[in-house]
Each structure stands twice: as structure tokens, then as C-alpha cells.
Symmetry: C2
Subunit: 248 residues, 2 copies
DNA sequence: CGACGGGTTGAGCCAGCTCAATGGGCGTGG
DNA sequence: CCACGCCCATTGAGCTGGCTCAACCCGTCG
């Protein structure tokens, strides 16, 4: 028997899945088609027949600005649903595309519906995943809107690391980060030139190193502290500090 | 019989509610307690006993930054749930507070659970509402991260107008906007001083007028065009243009 | 070996910030 | 009725993070 799918590993954080549920989920992503980098899976305003799951690689939600800039609104890592619940909204309000070469599982909406009604725990886990997506969006809104570029990048790296770690795809203090500087810019809303300078600064400060597309950090806590990264919003278990904050 | 609640009016966009469902929802918000401005309803990382619904006034989701700045992550207008599905996430990853004097309905989690299991249409409508919240978050991410301050403010006003209109609380080309410039700053991530200058500029350009806390605009389309506002993301019906956008 | 897709570096500019002071409406107390 | 204080809006002056434009470099691949 092969190892558990990234999808199942992720959804385990959202509900106490049994052997049967895990099997059902693993089966969902057994088959996957290769999709080259920079390919759209779903185009804004189009209704979709299928539900997509990332099996390997990285995809993203994005919107194009009138002036041609691309705003990346979410990263879709292995084990992430791309468009699970759009049926409720009638149409997508954004597009989804691959950032690097991917393997994508396409599942018919029927099969999903069937699974969600027959397995309440899977249903719950899927809604959990949707709510976590929303929580991530809130933290991105903070990140993009309130932090300096160097912090934004550091925060992004912390998040990717923790998320990859949760599905077993990160190294000890490192992970593969196959994005171009331009993509990083689209992620945080900065220009490629400024990303370059800021990355150089982070490297100079000893917070990260970069070699062969692998990003590593000697001291995760230092990086997290610098980025004001608090993983509670990822809801991956055991990460919530005590109550805090208020109007003041 | 009194008029339909804002809650019901909003959720009608998410599912074809019948008379029975509407009654059930209206009953949910029959009772409400007054809550003064700048009061926390829910504090980050705390588990909550009750579900909150805004009956009148305006509340917000927010997070405090380490340096004391407040990042407002969502506006909660009359008819909006504040914390409907947190039970699935165990704890809140942000706080919720009133921006102005409000009336808030507090409903026990039990009653909500009961309603959601007995009325599938209400259940669907509630999930529709959370998915719309997520869509709004994505658009805010674009707004905060990619647009100039003048566009950000204009976009915010367009959104508030359309959302208030949907629940019957906006005027013809105007709505009550009881926020201070500092609150506007916390909404878009700008300083109060810069909000002031930008508002003056919008007024100077004839895009908006402001009198007695009422914001008005002679030409909504002009304002929307200036802000690049496209209401499709609000999923309030009949607002989606044809398919568009792709990787270049 | 030339083209191309990235990364690196330099120079000048501007939107939005900080600091700071002023003004006006309004409630409260004398 | 006035004086005071408070909250909020307004205005000015200088600073800077991040942008634009423009080279140049380097590894890879046909």
C-alpha cells in the first residue's frame, strides 16, 4: 500500500477521518494529469464541470488587473482543492492557474457531491479547509496591506514552510521554492526589481539562504519573529496562543 | 406583519427561501441588544458560546498589529453573521468589534445547529454567505495590495453602497457612512492624514460629496469606473460579465 | 553561437508616511 | 452664557520605501 495522499494528510487536521474516509479521499486523487507551468485550470466567470485538486506542483488563484498586472490571491499546494464549493456561487470570481509544472486531479462534481453526502466527516473536513482558506486570506490581507516588503516575503516563506510541512513536503529547515522573482512580486504586490533587492537583504541578514531553488533558514524562529508570523491562522493544531488583543 | 429582516433579505440571494425559512430567520434576529461603538464582540483566540448577527450599525473583523495599528479585515453590515462557522475551526483567528453603535443579536450555537440541520435551504444560504465573505476578502486583497489610495476608497464606497442596497439600506445615490477618517485608514491601510487628503481629492474631482456623514455620488458608474469596481465578486445576482482574463 | 529567460545593479522619481500645528463642532461644567 | 476640553478634520513640510526605466550579466537550450 502506498503512502497516504497529501489531500488526506491535510484534511486530517479538519476532522478525525477513519480508514474508510482516508481511502475514499486517496482514491479521489489516484489519477492525475500533468499540467505545464502557466496554464489556466479555471477562468474567471466561467462555470466549471469538474473540481480540481493539486497532486503535485503549485497553482494559484489570481485576478488580472486592467493594466495587465497579475494579483495572486492564494497559493494552492499539494493536497489543496482548487474550486470545491463554487457550485454554490454559480461562477468563479477569479481564475486559477499553475505556477509550475503540476499534476492535477480532475473529479466530476457528481462524484464530489456523492462523497460529501455519504461521508459527513469528509464533508466537515472540506468545509474546514474552506474556512482555513478564508483565514489565510485574512492574514494575507494583513501581510500585503500592513507589512514592509522584507517582512511580507519572510511571512510568505514561513507560511509555505508550515503548510508544506503539514503535508510532509518540507525539509528540516528548508523547502523547494521554484518561483521566479516576478511570481514572488505578483504574490506580494511588488515589482521584480524590488523583490530582488529585498531577497538580497534577507540573505544578507542571514535570515534565509537560497540555493538551487531551495530556500533554507538556519533559525525559523528568527525568521518568524522578523515576519511577525503567528501560525494560529493556519488552524493546523497546537498553534494558538492565549487570548489577546482588543480595542484599546 | 413587520418588514423582512436584513438577514433574510441578504440570504435570499444565496438560496430560494420559502415563507417558512424566512420566518425562521427573522425570528433569529427578533431580539437584539444595543452595543456601543468600539466594543469587542469576540476576542481573538477565544472560543465563543454564541453566534452574533448584526441587526443595525456596522461591526468589523480586525487584527491588531504588534505596533498597535489596527487592520480591519471585513465590514459586517446589517444582516451579516459575525462568527457563524467558527465551531469548525475551534477558535477565532481574529477579533470582532463594533465600529459605531449597533444592535446585535446573540444566538446560541445550539439553536443555530438545529436550524441548519432542519432547513437545508438555510444551510445552503449560510454557506453561500461564507463563500461570499471569502470572495470579498479576495477583492479586498486586490484593492489593498494593488490600487492607489484614491481608488481604494472609491472601491470601498462602491462595495458598501451595493451591499447596503442589497438589504435595502442605501439611498438612491447615497448612503450613511459614519466612519471617522482614522477608521477609513484602518480599512485600507493608510494614515488618517492621507485619507483626509485623498477624500478631498475625490470631492474635488466631483466623484463624491459628503455632508452630515452621508456620502453621495452624482454618477455611480463614474465612481465605479475610477475604482475599477466590478460587482461580480459580491455574487448578488446579475452582475457577472462574460468570461475574461487568462495567463498572458 | 545566438536567443532567451531569468537575476543583478544603478539612477531618479513620487505616493504615501511622519511630525506638527491649527481649526471647528459639541458636550460638560461653572 | 461662556469656558474648557475633546474629538475629529485640515493643512504644511520634509522624508523614504518602493516604483520606473534601463543596462548588464549569466546559464541553458536549440
Amino acid at each position: 500500500m502506498t503512502e497516504e495522499s497529501h489531500l488526506t494528510r491535510k484534511l486530517r487536521f479538519g476532522a478525525a477521518l477513519g480508514k474508510e474516509e482516508a481511502c475514499r479521499l486517496d482514491r479521489l486523487v489516484r489519477e492525475a494529469v500533468p499540467v505545464p507551468a502557466r496554464t489556466d485550470l479555471v477562468v474567471q466567470y466561467q462555470a466549471t464541470e469538474h473540481v480540481h485538486v493539486v497532486k503535485s506542483g503549485v497553482a494559484c488563484r489570481y485576478k488580472m488587473m486592467p493594466d495587465g498586472r497579475r494579483a495572486i490571491l492564494a497559493l494552492l499546494l499539494p493536497g489543496d482543492f482548487c474550486d470545491l464549493h463554487v457550485a454554490i456561487l454559480d461562477y468563479m470570481d477569479h481564475s486559477i492557474g499553475t505556477l509550475v509544472d503540476c499534476e492535477i486531479s480532475r473529479v466530476s462534481r457528481n462524484e464530489i457531491e456523492c462523497m460529501l453526502t455519504h461521508y459527513p466527516l469528509i464533508n466537515r473536513a472540506c468545509w474546514w479547509a474552506t474556512l482555513v482558506d478564508e483565514a489565510v486570506l485574512r492574514e494575507w490581507l494583513v501581510n500585503i496591506g500592513r507589512r514592509r516588503t522584507d517582512q511580507q516575503l519572510a511571512h510568505l516563506f514561513c507560511e509555505i514552510y508550515v503548510r508544506l510541512k503539514a503535508v510532509g513536503l518540507a525539509g528540516d529547515h528548508s523547502f523547494r521554492m521554484p518561483f521566479t522573482q516576478e511570481t514572488l512580486g505578483d504574490l506580494i504586490g511588488a515589482t521584480q526589481v524590488h523583490v530582488q533587492r529585498t531577497m538580497a537583504q534577507l540573505r544578507g541578514a542571514g535570515l534565509i539562504t537560497l540555493q538551487d531553488r531551495v530556500i533554507a533558514f538556519p533559525d525559523f524562529d528568527a525568521l518568524a519573529g522578523f515576519a511577525e508570523f503567528e501560525p494560529g491562522y493556519l488552524h493546523l493544531g497546537g498553534m494558538a496562543p492565549g487570548p489577546d488583543g482588543s480595542h484599546g
